[in-house]
Amino acid sequence: MTDHELQLKAVALRRAMLKLIVGAGAGHTGGGLSCMDILNVLYNRVLNVSPQTFTNPTRDRYVQSKGHCVEALYAVLADRGFFPASDLDTVCHYQSHYVGHPTRHIPGIEMNTGALGHGLPICIGMALAAKMDATSGTGVPPVECDNRTESAAQISKSPQAQTGGTRCPTTDAAYRVFTLLGDGELAEGSNWEAGLAAAHYKLDNLFAILDHNTLQITGHTRDVMSNEPLDEKWRAFGWGVKTVNGHDYAALTEALSKPAEPGKPTFIIANTVKGKGVSFMENVAKWHHGVPSEAELKQALAELDAAEKILKTTA
């Protein structure tokens, strides 16, 4: 899938997400919009998962640690065909498994998350399992590495990318493991316990992506509990660190295609805009879990329609 196709898809995903949040009467709108491009790249270009291969033991694992932005994930999984898009009409409804945080009841979701600071430790367990399965001789064989030398642009055009799945650039892991973290979430100490362990075990098949929109429910993270300089901190913990524009498909693809440094876990600081794509939501903390009114939804959809129109004319 080309960058342009991904950009068009992102508009549709944002539209679907906003509609489902309004239908649910609840949701994390700002963060969902900020991480949508990351999920778009993961599911349409990076992860070797599909509805047909989801039970494959060598599939890449994605755990959404910032589980409150499940609405974005629901939109992406529906688009990838894990379940009918009509299921999204039931989000947060009585007796619907589509609750306000990820659960394994939903096809395509690996772990139940929602309490913050849980995803990274879980992913370490998964990444260790991937290493064990590749080296013990008792588990599944390691995957072929076929894009190690490809550039991001080449990856975008590769047959694997077209079908939604590049392959693992590490040689001693059966699969890769990805997690998405939020800014406010980094105040949870468990992340830093996990930070030590991932580096200790040299988990180069682990990628933690920070949706770095710099806002949390109360306001700016720097005012709530400052955590910068994040790149220096994670580097000091023994991780390879990359900082990218979290809305740039080529940059995200490149960062997610191989470890930032050999033999180290990768921490990707994806600079994003909370509320991305809807002018009146951008960089406004109140949209952390704000639900648009009918009028606001109409305006937001009109903006997305306009963006789509421009994209189509630039094809």
Binding site: P57, R61, T103, R104, E110, M111, N112, T113, G114, A115, G117, H118, L120, P121, I122, C123, I124, G125, M126, A127, L128, A129, A130, M132, D133, T135, S136, T138, G139, G189, S190, E193, A194, L196, A197, H200, Y201
Partner: protein, 332 residues
Amino acid sequence: MSAPAPSMFTPAAKAMAEKLGLKMGRANLDEFAATLEELAKANPNIVAVTSDSRGSGKLAPFGKNLPKQIVEVGIAEQNLVGITAGLAACGKKSFGVSPGCFLTARSLEQIKNDVCYSDVPAVLIGISSGTSYGALGTTHHSLHDLAVLRAINNISIIVPADNFETREAIRFAASAKKPVFVRFGKAAMFNLHKPETKFEAGKAITLHGGDDVAFIATGETVVHALLAAGQLAECGLNCRVISMHSIKPLDTEAILKAGSECRAVVTVEEHMVHGGLGEACASVLMQAGVNKPFRIVGIPDEETVPGAQADIFRHYGISMEGLSETALKLLK
């Protein structure tokens, strides 16, 4: 020179154990470590996860013999449970091993969400549980673990009484498709069971029949109930002794049978009296309309008395003499 640890058994209790033909085994902790290593040698998917606890968990030989099947996370219990859950989600039979006091308090949210809610077949082993750490104080006691885990959906809770129950509990946990928690102490235990005894999770084992007083006990208190039954037999009382090794699922049938057939019921646990075995039994009996003289023996809601595990047991009446006295009072 340090003072010798006080004995868990008075000379009279030791004499009763001898009279009943009980033989001293090893610590359930040792039995656990040996069983896990034996299972892991046969099943390379078994992985032990430790939080600087391979020494206290007696897993040093496991680590030496099966270095690819052990993961050290350092003193980081939240990480321990998250990693154990992640391993289990990816097809490993993971055993997270950590002192019960830390495992079930510091990382309770990870147990609730990563293990139970996510429904992964992880096993959590609470070592040196209850008051095993004795005089180290309340920070190191786990007198809450049964209560908090009973209140969480989707986890089996097993508290073995002796080496046999420990071995069987670990075997059950290794084959379980759902989350399991097993907790035990580190003191040597009398072997309580006959060779032909069968172990089934969720099914209590009756060690001694009788219909005067029913002792429903769990874990390392069971032996004291058995000794008390022996002492009470000398007074002409016929007491039932039930090892309720499974706290969840609970053998409600055995509890109702005991409540219906016996004149009084005494529950015994190395746990606070709130939320543990005793209140679980009370709930079963009361909701079935079975109303018999009833007493919960455990650690009361107070700062636990300082002392060794044996001191604490004796102080709160978890001893042959204490339990006999409780039973006699109930029958008056």
